[in-house]
Amino acid sequence: MSEVRNPVEPFLRMDRMPHIWCPGCGIGTTVNCFTRALIESKVDLDHVTIVSGIGCTGRVAGYVKLDSFHTTHGRAIPFATGLKLANPKLNVIVYSGDGDLSAIGGNHLIHAARRNIDLKIVCVNNLIYAMTGGQTAPTTPNDAVTSTAPYGSYEPAFNLPHLVEAAGAVYVARWTTYHVRQLARSMQEAFAKKGFSFIEVLSPCPTLYQRRNKLGDGLETMKYYKEKSKVRNGAPTSEVGLTMQGEIIVGKFVDRDRPDYRELMRHRLAETLGDRYVECEELVCS
């Protein structure tokens, strides 16, 4: 029998394995789902680009054997926006963490959603700044102990699906690393969708979040996801906020259509300039 290979291996830079993620961390699981979604959706891999910022999840751009871009902290979306506008043929995926996307890059997130730029955002949410030592992030739920909140966090947390829906995203879903098949399907749907798509993935951080809060290891967290998550497709995003060890509402919350940035731009320029407006398919030299 011919040698069977792990389906994820052709998508990875194997010379960089083993990766730096901790035992029990869920980021590798999301990468598995991502590669399965790429295989299933049969997209042209020459036109797929991954952009990521800084953080544990930011390492994905370095490990995946696609055109990838590891950018400055929080600026994954601006780089991706430039890439998409210069070369509209590309399928640009932003793969980053909650701290990078919603805190340092929070402004970029809401404005990219407002302008409806055709980006696919995969936000791996481990509820904390993991790479820098477990500080409180805007997504840290109430009562969670972090390195900067030793008596428990008292700041109200972001409800990311609600935030991006309000800002104008056309596709919003949330899954956990337990829901691997659903996550892969959701990513596939996002690849096919035109406009700003946002997928939040809850992932364990056993080293910093679970350990400080005495919640066991990665496996315990996966069991908690299995037990406490409830699939509610189309749930109003205002009701899906996360609480400390509470119920997790998962599912596809928003799937709607809105003209994207390029369409609006084309429409306005063609209207104003008439024949003088020449559409350029690709601005980059090959």
């Binding site: 994820v8 291996e9 083993p18 035992p23 029990g24 699981t29 337990y178 691997v180």
Partner: protein, 92 residues
């Protein structure tokens, strides 16, 4: 690959022992409970999983989807020309 009850396994798993970090996701979430963490160590000091029920593996590749370290995956065995078991095929 004939198992205890003379059933041909429908699938198999491949494990790269040295890449494993023993998180236990594959063992916990294998739908047919094919795997268990072994008592042996790899060179990093983790206990990688090993197959304890070869004949039960359906080759669904859920272990491969869960493994954060890309150390395991499942695949379907090419079935010999024997007539497939109608009941189990339908159940899937």
């Amino acid at each position: 690959m004939r198992g205890k009850w003379g059933i041909m396994a429908k699938g198999a798993v491949k494990i790269v022992v040295e890449r494993c970090k023993a998180c236990g996701f594959c063992v916990e979430f294998c739908p047919t409970k094919v795997l268990a963490l072994s008592s042996a160590f790899n060179s990093k000091g983790y206990h990688p999983p090993h197959v304890v029920a070869t004949e039960k593996c359906s080759g669904c590749d859920l272990c491969g989807m869960y493994c954060p370290d890309f150390a395991i995956f499942g695949y379907r065995q090419p079935q010999p020309q024997a007539t497939p078991n109608k009941e189990t095929a339908d159940a899937r």
